[in-house]
């Protein structure tokens, strides 16, 4: 499958890879250069492979409140909310962002889960109407400390007022857009929804952004940026065999509400936890599936590993048994060799 921007990626010289059936740009210039562009200036990402559902009707809020662990009743018009969505046994079906905008809900789901999520929501829809608009809608992310400056060049400076996790209707280049102040990079930034046919917005944002040295950014840097910022990735760090209580998502589980999986989570005896790690003395990169050892016994596995361009270190996330304390030294097995690593928070980078 191709997003509406496929030809533009090619003409920019992107290295295209298959990502869950999508032909997506891995990189345009180099992952490290693109990563640093987002940390210091501004980058533009095509994230149109993500699934976008519209949920409306009288039961829309009830449906989402029942499906999501977070409290949808507290989600006000023109705001966005992050939440896991669980199975009855507490395993994570997906992690999503839902916005309440124009009197309906806009739910952004992982590209690998579109069909599964659609079926799951549909099965629990009560009388709510759910519409998979993934193909009709394009989604771009404009991320970095200068993202606001780029948007202010385009629109009437209204974006200064948009706070993190706020959502607004606006026009960019005469095109109706929904814009949220959200992202997956740890930087300030915006996500911009519009009709797929309006793919010229990509070129126009790059053109307007050129005075801020904007660059297009591929999935490679998207992964290193999210890892540094402590954001988990479904399929790596989260899956149906993982509950929100085993990963740093307790804050999204609101036991005062009723939701699918609540009973299982209330009764779960949590035995493992997802932590960050920093490999010591080498920059060898840990990969998903590498074994993690503590006091000579295996205590878990790496779920995500990469190189941090900001810290100039090899970092990642791994599961360990819950007794393993922060700052403790663990060993990570890469290619039949054990390397010392320090247990850290999952948040490696926090913007100033």
């Amino acid at each position: 499958m191709r997003t509406p921007f496929y030809d533009q990626h090619n003409s920019l010289g992107a290295k295209i890879v298959d990502f869950h059936g999508w032909q997506m740009p891995l990189q345009y210039f180099g992952i490290i250069e693109e990563h640093k562009t987002v940390r210091s200036k501004v980058g533009l990402f095509d994230v149109s492979h993500m699934g976008i559902f519209k949920i409306k009707g009288q039961d829309a809020e009830n449906c989402l409140q029942n499906l999501l662990t977070n409290d949808v009743s507290k989600l006000q018009e023109n705001h966005a909310l992050y939440s896991p969505m669980c199975l009855e046994n507490g395993g994570i079906v997906d992690d999503i962002i839902v916005s309440r905008v124009n009197g309906e809900f806009l739910m952004v789901v992982n590209s690998s889960n579109i069909q599964k999520d659609f079926d799951w929501v549909k099965d629990h829809s009560m009388s709510a109407l759910i519409d998979d608009t993934s193909e009709q809608m394009a989604l771009l992310a404009l991320q970095g400390p200068l993202a606001l400056d780029v948007l202010n060049e385009v629109g009437p400076k209204e974006f200064d007022k948009l706070k993190p996790f706020e959502v607004t209707n606006s026009k960019l280049f005469e095109v109706d857009c929904i814009i949220s102040r959200t992202g997956y990079t740890g930087e300030d930034g915006f996500e911009i929804f519009f009709e797929s046919s309006e793919n010229k917005i990509w070129d126009k944002l790059l053109e307007v952004g050129s005075k801020f040295q904007i660059k297009p950014i591929g999935l490679g840097a998207r992964d290193t940026l999210r890892l540094e910022a402590g954001f988990m990735l479904y399929g790596n760090d989260l899956d149906e065999n993982t509950t929100p209580l085993e990963v740093p998502l307790k804050w999204t589980v609101k036991f005062e509400t009723d939701f699918v999986g609540k009973v299982a989570l209330e009764n779960q005896k949590v035995a493992r936890k997802l932590v960050g790690f920093e490999i010591l003395g080498t920059k060898r990169v840990a990969r998903k599936g590498n074994g993690v050892y503590f006091n000579n016994s295996k205590v878990g596995m790496v779920t995500s590993g990469s190189f941090s361009p900001t810290l100039n270190k090899s970092i990642g996330f791994c599961f360990v048994s819950k007794e393993v304390p922060l700052d403790e030294i663990i060993q990570i097995n890469i290619g039949n060799k054990n390397y010392d690593a320090k247990v850290t928070s999952t948040r490696f980078y926090k913007r100033r």
Binding site: Q27, G30, T282, V285, F307
Partner: protein, 124 residues
């Protein structure tokens, strides 16, 4: 025409002052993308052709580097420890990986020439 020879696993080797200078091809570095770590062998270690002599990590993948010729490690490129990106920037010059004292230079005869390698990777 350079005397540089190439393996099917994308190492290059060239004899300079009786030593076999080894690195990875421009095609290989482009495939790997940004290289962030290089694990080097120790000077004096003996290797046989096709043994793993080094491990390169890029952000996306780890790759073993195979010895193109039997011999002993005479020199390693220590610059790569702090600056692994030299392989991306200059795969045939400052991004060299090891120098090997070869046991039998004749082993290189079976490797590909630049022209044959370019055809092999479809870049001719």
């Amino acid at each position: 025409m350079s005397d540089r020879k190439f393996t099917e696993s994308h190492e290059w080797v060239i004899i300079e002052n009786e030593l076999a200078l080894v690195g990875i091809s421009d095609f290989a570095q482009k495939q790997l993308g940004d290289i962030v770590s290089v694990e080097l062998p120790k000077v004096g270690e003996e290797f046989k052709k096709k043994d793993t002599i080094a491990i390169i990590d890029s952000i996306k993948a780890s790759s073993d580097i195979y010895c193109p010729i039997d011999g002993m490690i005479e020199k390693i490129n220590e610059e790569l420890i702090e600056h692994p990106e030299l392989i991306n920037k200059s795969p045939y010059e400052s991004g060299w990986i090891v120098k090997i004292k070869p046991r039998d230079k004749g082993q290189l005869d079976s490797l590909m020439t630049q022209e044959q390698y370019d055809k092999f990777v479809g870049e001719d």
